[in-house]
Every structure is written in structure tokens, then in C-alpha cells.
């Protein structure tokens, strides 16, 4: 190994390896590399692949954070290897570990199977569904209306959000943040004429109401896309359009009991969102909850400052009615 200069750091890079042609189990390999300022994690992987071990597999193309090929798990957080600077990460953590994305099967080394990712995107009807004949020129859509798309339109389908999605981890059928951000992109598009149909479809199980609002998708997106904001927008629009599902009923019941009593009454919420037959169907889960000692605490007191909460709720209602007009 060459002697390191002042700016050069000699370090180990630890990489997840899996080759189903060779062994059933995965392992990690390590290489000593010189890390120069400005080098990205992709640069280091290229160095390994080109000069140390050509069998190392990873997807990449543009190396400028726009093609979405090279998402992977770097020191425990999913991101693009091409725009992740290695040295600041080493300075912060003291190590560098590169692994494939989560929530997807691994095919080889850092190559994840994105089949499930793409399937969800296909499932949301990812194309404009315009209404009657388009105008002669471009659609007349004012800037502020087109700007609604901004929180979603730069998605490069890299999969980082899905890799970190806690709802997807619990429910592999959940459409996930990227597909729902794509869905939002059409719901919010003034040129699309199918937003009510779309919201009905997305309100089905495994859709917008399955997000557990952990915010990781917004946090890790390398393009500043905000899938969770997009999902929350669609929830509001669904309720406004009177599209009700177990999820929306739950949200409304939650809201109502909070405003009525100043505390969350799980029993009331459950009855309101599920109805009696639903409650009966859910009783095995309720039994499990009790068995695990997770029975809601009936003694809890209403929150303080209920008057302010009610004022706030009234303000929001007023604003919402104003926006509708």
C-alpha cells in the first residue's frame, strides 16, 4: 500500500458479498484503500472492482446522482454511492461498511432485486390519464399549480426510500414511498382527470393509509423528494373527496375522540373505524394485545391545554373550508 499523503487516508472498506453460484451464505470482504478528498463511495467500489476484485458486482451508471442505479446501504443508511463522499463519512464514523439495500432480496453482492419495487410503481397506473381532448397548445396550468409536483417529480427510482421504509418492512405488500410519490405526482397534476379514481384505488389496503409516518423516506431521498408529504396530501384529498376506508375512518375517529375527550380512547376509535363486525374480526389481535400486556391504560388523563387544541382545530377547519371555496 502506498504511503498516505497529508490528505490521504488509508482505510479499510468492508463490503457485503453474496454469490449464490459459490455459496449459500453471505460474508464480508475487506480491502485497504487510499481515500483521497473528493472521492465518493462509488469511486472506492470502482477501485476495488477494477484493481482488486473484478467479481465484485454493483449497479452504477451516471455517477452524478441522476440515473438512480447505485443506491446501497452505506454505514447503515441507504443512499447513492456516487454522491456520498467517503472521507467525511470516515471522519464521522471511523469505518466504512457497504451493504445492499434492505427490504429487497439480494441477487449478488450489492445488487438488490428491484422487481418488487418496480411492480408497485407499475401498480399505481404511472401515466397521465387526461380527460377530454387536450387544448391546441400546451395545457394552461399556472405555476403554483404545477409546482405541487415539485415534491415528487425529481424521483429517480433509486429505491433508497423503500430500502428504509418501516411500513414495508412490516408489510411486504405495502406499495411503498416511491410508488406512492409517483401516484401523488398524477393526483396533484392538474392535467390528470382521474384523481378521484386514483384516490379510491390508493385508499385500498397496502396504499396511502398503510404509511406509519416514520419520515425515513423524506430523510434519505437523495433528490429531496418527500414521499411522506405526498402520502399525507393524498390522505387529505381522499377524505375531502369522501373516499372512506378503514384508514381514513381510523384517522377521523382518532381526531374526533381526541377533540371530544382530550385523550385517545382506543375502544371508541376502534368501534368508529372498524364498526362492530370489523371489531369482531379483529378480536384475535385484541386478545394478543391483552396477552402481551399492551392493554390501553384507562386511567390516563386528558391532555393539558385542550382549549388551545380546539382553537387550533377550528382554525384548520376554517382554512380548509376557505381553500375549498
Amino acid at each position: 500500500m502506498a504511503a498516505a499523503g497529508a490528505d490521504v487516508l488509508v482505510t479499510k472498506i468492508k463490503v457485503y458479498r453474496f454469490d449464490p453460484e459459490v455459496a449459500k451464505a453471505a460474508h464480508y470482504d475487506e480491502w485497504d484503500l487510499d481515500v483521497k478528498p473528493g472521492q465518493t463511495v462509488l469511486d472506492l467500489l470502482h477501485e476495488v472492482h477494477y484493481f482488486h476484485d473484478p467479481t465484485l458486482s454493483f449497479r452504477r451508471s451516471c455517477r452524478s446522482a441522476i440515473c438512480g442505479s447505485c443506491a446501497m446501504n452505506i454505514n447503515g443508511r441507504t443512499g447513492l454511492s456516487c454522491n456520498t463522499q467517503a472521507k467525511p463519512l470516515l471522519d464521522r464514523d471511523g469505518y466504512l461498511i457497504v451493504e445492499p439495500m434492505k427490504n429487497m432480496p439480494v441477487l449478488k453482492d450489492l445488487v438488490a432485486d428491484m422487481g418488487g419495487f418496480w411492480k408497485a410503481v407499475y401498480d399505481i397506473d404511472p401515466y397521465l390519464r387526461p380527460g377530454a381532448d387536450p387544448p391546441k397548445g400546451p395545457y394552461v396550468v399556472p405555476k403554483h399549480r404545477m409546482d405541487l409536483l415539485k415534491i415528487a417529480q425529481d424521483c429517480i427510482m433509486c429505491g433508497s426510500c423503500l430500502s428504509e421504509c418501516t411500513s414495508r418492512e412490516a408489510n411486504p405488500e405495502y406499495l411503498g414511498p416511491a410508488a406512492l410519490a409517483k401516484a401523488y405526482r398524477f393526483v396533484a397534476d392538474a392535467r390528470d382527470d382521474a384523481s378521484v379514481e386514483r384516490l379510491k384505488e390508493y385508499s385500498q389496503p397496502n396504499g396511502i393509509w398503510d404509511c406509519d409516518t416514520c419520515l425515513y423516506c423524506n430523510e434519505v431521498c437523495p433528490m429531496g423528494v418527500k414521499p411522506m408529504d405526498a402520502i399525507m396530501y393524498m390522505r387529505e384529498k381522499a377524505i375531502e373527496a369522501g373516499i372512506h376506508s378503514q384508514g381514513s375512518k381510523h384517522a377521523l375517529a382518532f381526531y374526533d375522540t381526541l377533540l371530544e375527550t382530550g385523550k385517545l380512547n382506543e375502544f371508541k376509535t376502534a368501534i368508529k373505524s372498524l364498526g362492530i363486525p370489523g371489531l369482531v374480526a379483529q378480536s384475535p389481535i385484541a386478545a394478543k394485545v391483552v396477552l402481551h400486556g399492551k392493554t390501553p391504560d384507562l386511567r390516563k388523563k386528558p391532555i393539558k391545554g385542550m382549549a388551545d387544541v380546539k382553537k387550533l382545530a377550528a382554525l384548520v377547519e376554517k382554512k380548509r373550508k376557505g381553500a375549498k371555496k
Binding site: S64, L107, P142
Partner: protein, 557 residues
């Protein structure tokens, strides 16, 4: 064996446009791409797409600017088609869903681009390529076009002078398979990875261009290689021309706005060939920063405007150079960006081999001649992608499938097998780096006889060394080392064509700038270069430029 009427090789904007139209014409269409379509290099195109759509603009104005930009080497009938169709294509893409930036009244925004006398580049922020690619991909999904993703084509099959199919390698599991088809549209995009400094993606290795070349298609004007003036110093990531369209200023190490000297009229928005040469001259004469870069100054625009209009420039500068463009100038240098030349086609995208069509950057109609203007590449992908798709579907309709790719399949199978097992002494990446250095040093922004003769000898020597390579990875699944070895062969073949064409062309025109022949020479060189694969050697021939209404004139800005 798989079979479709029309095969589209490559799933970028040209391929997706071709596929959409061929599908609409009733053909059974399949896209074969070594990437997923949304990973195609189209998404890296940033600044805009040109059209004479604004009030007061004319298609003739757009056409003249394009032809003058091309240094009069573009075929003018082809440019006329491009510029006449452009406004409707913008409207069409808007109707299909592209979120073009617009003002509060709903009118689409446009901005000035290099070499254009009028602001006519329409855009979606500074991620116009991404936005157009998304729309084109969405339409493929809607139509249900068959996609073979992560299949790398290794060879086009020509039987009795006619296309009959192709062989492709499935990256996921190492399957080699014959795809029969009546027609193919080659849309594999850029191939600039033979240059050390390039804005191209790592995967831009000119595969389709090389495959078509070896299958008998002529390559046209390959010596015309565009060097983009503003790539980020170091990683050579593209800083879009839109940065100057929005008011960015180039400054040398002495703080001088040097473009005033080289282009008194258009200054920083002169065409790319001129700006790149100006930067290179500043560097050669000692007025660049150490390492050869100059500054692109956006600070006077303010952070808010930069984030609104140029979010990608903001992202790239901060992430890759640690520079906040609202506060500091961006360090930039020229880098290979685009190849004007490519697979020679007519206005319908047809090549000299029946059944083989081509469109997009890998093709040469010729729309860009000796130098392409910014904002015309995305336009070409849609306009001529559609023409090629329609022509391929029509060709397929009146043609019967020829069978018989079995022999080629076996030959390709042996070649892959050899690559997997060969234990030569040459590392693929070492050869590739040598090639990149040779091409950058000797066939770059400025060229001369001596350097290019050395480059030709070096490229030929590298081609001779290719049989001694070692892939070093025997696996069948996601063996990217194997793919890189195949890509290297393509880069080597195309490099030889570039150098031969450049060495033969004893003049300076557009991006081909020779210090030993500094002037344009219309009497001798107002003609297209055609390169032909003859198995053991490459042959050059020439054909005239088609001129309709704009006679060549002196090109000053």
C-alpha cells in the same frame, strides 16, 4: 429464442419514442437495454429542449442557428424537419405529462441557450431530460411495450444483406439468446467513455454504434466530438449550459470575463466548441487556475434564483465540489460530452442495411454537423426516434422474418466463453485507461497531425493487445467485468474511426479544431466522412452535404 416485429435497442428517450410510435402502428415491439430505461443517459440532459414556440419565433430562425452552429456541415433538409416539428413535439410531451416549467399565466417558460439568437429552450427546472424520460417511460408502461431490461446486446445479425435479429446477454444470469426481428432501431445513445474527461455515464460505451458498424452500417462524421465547456473540475460532472442561459459568467484566474474577447456578441453563450476552445486557450496561456480550470460565476443570481431555476447545479456544486454557487464561483473545465457523428441514417432513420434503423445520439442524420447546439439533442431523440419507430414498423409490416441466427449465436457463445476463461496478462481497466489518456491527450479540444498520428498508432496497438485481456471474473450472475470487456472492444473500434476521420480531415470545422489547419476549407471539406468496417481494416469515403436555403458563410459570434 425470442421474436418480435420490431426490436428497439436501448430504452432512452429516442428508444422509448421509437417504441411508442412503432407500437401505435400495430407492430409487436420490444425494447432490449443493458440498463433499465429510466437509468438511460437521457436523464442526465439538464437544461432544455429547443422549439420555435414562443411568440415571434420562427422555425427558420431555429434552423439557421442550428446550421450555423453546425459550421454548415448539417444536412439542411434534416434540420428543417427537426425545427418544423419541434413546437408540436413540446405540446405533445406536455399533453403526455411532462411538467414543463411555466409562469403564473400558464405560459411555458423558455431561456436562452448557446448559439441561439432567441430564447427557445423549454425546460422542467434543470432536470429536463429526467422529466422527458419519465414521460416517455410512462407511455411505454401504458402501452404495455415488452421490456428486456439489463440485457446487453453483443451482435446484430445480418443475413443476405438484411437484418434478421440480434444476440443479447442477460446480465442477471448469463443467458445468451437470439432475438429475431424484422427490424431494429438502434438507440443506444452516447459513447464518450474513450475520453479521460467525459460527462458521459460509465455505461456510455457506444455499444449500438459499434454493433451496427460491424454489421455493415456506415458511420458518419465520427471525428466531430463535442467538448462541453462547463464540467465540474475533477469528477467532470455536467454543469448545464442553462447556468449561463440564466446569466452565469465565465472568469479566468485573473478575474477577467474572457469570453468578451473570443465572442464579442454572444459572450458566455457562444456555442460550446468556441467556449471550450476559449477556456483551453486561457489555460494554455497561463490564465487558468492551477490544474487548468476556470470559474463559472453564478453568485450575482443569488441562492434563491439558483435553487428555483438550477436546482441540479446547486446540488452538484455542493455535493461534488463542496462549493455553494450562491456564494462562490464553480470550478469548471471542458470535458467530452457528445459525439455529433454516429450511424449514418436518412430522414426516416434508415441505414444502408435494410432493417437496421437508428435514432438519437448514436445516429447521425446529420442534424448537428460539426457542432451541436445545446437543447437540440433531446429534441432529436423525440423527433427522429418517432420517425425511425414509424419507419421500422412500416418496414416490418411488408417484410417476412428471416430465420437463421443460430450460427451467430454459437459464435457469440464461444466469444463469451473465451472472455470468461481467458487468462491473458492485460487488465481490461488498464487498457481502457490507456485508451482514455491517449484520446484525451491527442484527439481533444485542439488537434494536430503529429498527435493524431501517434493516437492512431496507439489505438491500433491497443486493439492488438485486446486478445490478451483477462476478465478475472468467471461468474454468470451480474458479471460486470465481462460486460466491461465487451464494452472496451466497442470503445476501441469507435476510437479508431474517430482518429482516422480526424486525421484525414485537414481543416478546422466546429468541434474539430486543428492547429495545423486552422481554417475551414469548404472547397475541399464541405462533405461528410463515412467510415466502413471491412473486417481487417476501416475504410473512409465521403459524401456531399445537403444544402437547401442557407449557403455557408463565415461563422462568427
Amino acid at each position: 429464442m425470442k421474436r418480435h416485429d420490431v426490436l428497439i435497442l436501448g430504452g432512452g428517450l429516442a428508444g422509448a419514442s421509437a417504441a411508442r410510435v412503432a407500437h401505435q402502428a400495430g407492430a409487436d415491439v420490444a425494447i432490449v437495454s443493458k440498463l433499465s430505461p429510466l437509468r438511460s443517459h437521457t436523464v442526465a440532459a439538464a437544461g432544455g429542449i429547443n422549439a420555435a414556440l414562443a411568440a415571434g419565433d420562427t422555425w427558420e430562425g431555429h434552423a439557421f442557428d442550428t446550421i450555423k452552429g453546425s459550421d454548415f456541415l448539417a444536412d439542411q433538409d434534416s434540420v428543417e424537419i427537426l425545427c418544423r416539428e419541434a413546437p408540436n413535439l413540446i405540446v405533445e410531451m406536455d399533453h403526455l405529462g411532462t411538467p414543463f416549467s411555466r409562469d403564473e399565466s400558464g405560459t411555458l417558460f423558455n431561456r436562452p441557450f448557446g448559439g441561439m439568437r432567441q430564447a427557445r429552450a423549454f425546460f422542467a427546472g434543470d432536470r429536463t431530460g429526467l422529466a422527458l424520460m419519465q414521460t416517455a417511460w410512462e407511455q411505454l408502461v401504458k402501452a404495455g411495450v415488452t421490456l428486456y431490461e439489463e440485457w446487453a446486446a453483443t451482435s446484430l445479425i445480418v443475413e443476405n444483406g438484411r437484418f434478421s435479429g440480434l444476440i443479447a446477454y442477460r446480465i442477471a444470469d448469463g443467458t445468451l439468446e437470439e432475438f429475431q426481428g424484422k427490424a431494429v432501431v438502434v438507440c443506444t445513445g452516447p459513447g464518450g467513455q474513450m475520453y479521460l474527461k467525459s460527462t458521459n455515464a460509465v455505461t456510455c460505451t457506444g455499444d449500438g454504434t459499434a454493433l451496427a458498424f460491424r454489421a455493415g452500417c456506415a458511420l458518419k462524421d465520427m471525428e466531430f466530438v463535442q467538448f462541453h465547456p462547463t464540467s465540474l473540475h475533477g469528477p467532470n460532472i455536467l454543469i448545464t449550459e442553462a447556468a449561463r442561459g440564466e446569466g452565469g459568467i465565465l472568469k479566468n484566474a485573473k478575474g477577467e470575463r474572457f469570453m468578451e474577447k473570443y465572442s464579442p456578441k454572444m459572450v458566455d453563450l457562444a456555442p460550446r466548441d468556441i467556449v471550450s476552445r476559449s477556456i483551453q486557450t486561457e489555460a494554455n496561456e497561463g490564465r487558468a487556475f492551477p490544474g487548468g480550470y476556470v470559474h463559472l460565476d453564478l453568485t450575482h443570481l443569488g441562492a434563491a434564483r439558483i435553487k428555483e431555476r438550477l436546482p441540479e447545479v446547486y446540488q452538484f456544486s455542493t455535493e461534488f465540489a463542496g462549493v455553494d454557487p450562491g456564494k462562490e464561483p464553480i470550478p469548471i473545465e471542458p470535458a467530452q460530452h457528445y459525439i455529433m457523428g454516429g450511424i449514418a441514417t436518412n430522414n426516416a432513420g434508415a441505414t444502408n442495411v435494410p432493417g437496421i434503423f437508428a435514432a438519437g445520439e448514436c445516429a447521425c442524420v446529420s442534424l448537428h454537423g460539426a457542432n451541436r447546439l445545446g437543447g437540440n439533442a433531446l429534441l432529436e431523440c423525440i423527433a427522429f426516434g418517432k420517425h425511425a419507430g414509424a419507419a421500422a414498423a412500416a418496414f416490418a409490416k411488408k417484410t417476412a422474418q428471416i430465420a437463421g441466427g443460430e450460427q451467430i449465436l454459437q459464435q457469440e457463445d464461444r466469444r463469451v466463453d473465451w472472455l470468461l476463461k481467458t487468462e491473458g496478462g492485460e487488465r481490461v481497466e488498464a487498457l481502457r485507461l490507456e485508451l482514455k489518456q491517449v484520446m484525451w491527450d491527442n484527439v481533444g479540444v485542439f488537434r494536430n497531425e503529429q498527435d493524431m498520428a501517434a493516437a492512431l498508432a496507439a489505438v491500433r496497438a491497443l486493439r492488438k493487445r485486446y486478445p490478451s485481456i483477462r476478465v478475472g471474473a468467471p461468474g454468470k450472475q451480474f458479471n460486470y467485468a465481462l460486460i466491461e470487456a465487451m464494452e472496451l472492444r466497442n470503445l476501441l473500434d469507435l476510437s479508431e474511426v474517430i482518429v482516422m476521420g480526424a486525421l484525414a480531415r485537414r481543416e478546422s470545422r466546429g468541434a474539430h479544431s486543428r492547429t495545423d489547419f486552422p481554417s475551414r476549407d469548404d472547397p475541399n471539406w464541405l462533405k461528410h466522412t463515412l467510415a466502413w468496417w471491412r473486417g481487417d481494416r476501416i475504410e473512409l469515403t465521403y459524401e456531399p452535404v445537403r444544402i437547401t436555403q442557407w449557403q455557408p458563410q463565415e461563422r462568427t459570434y
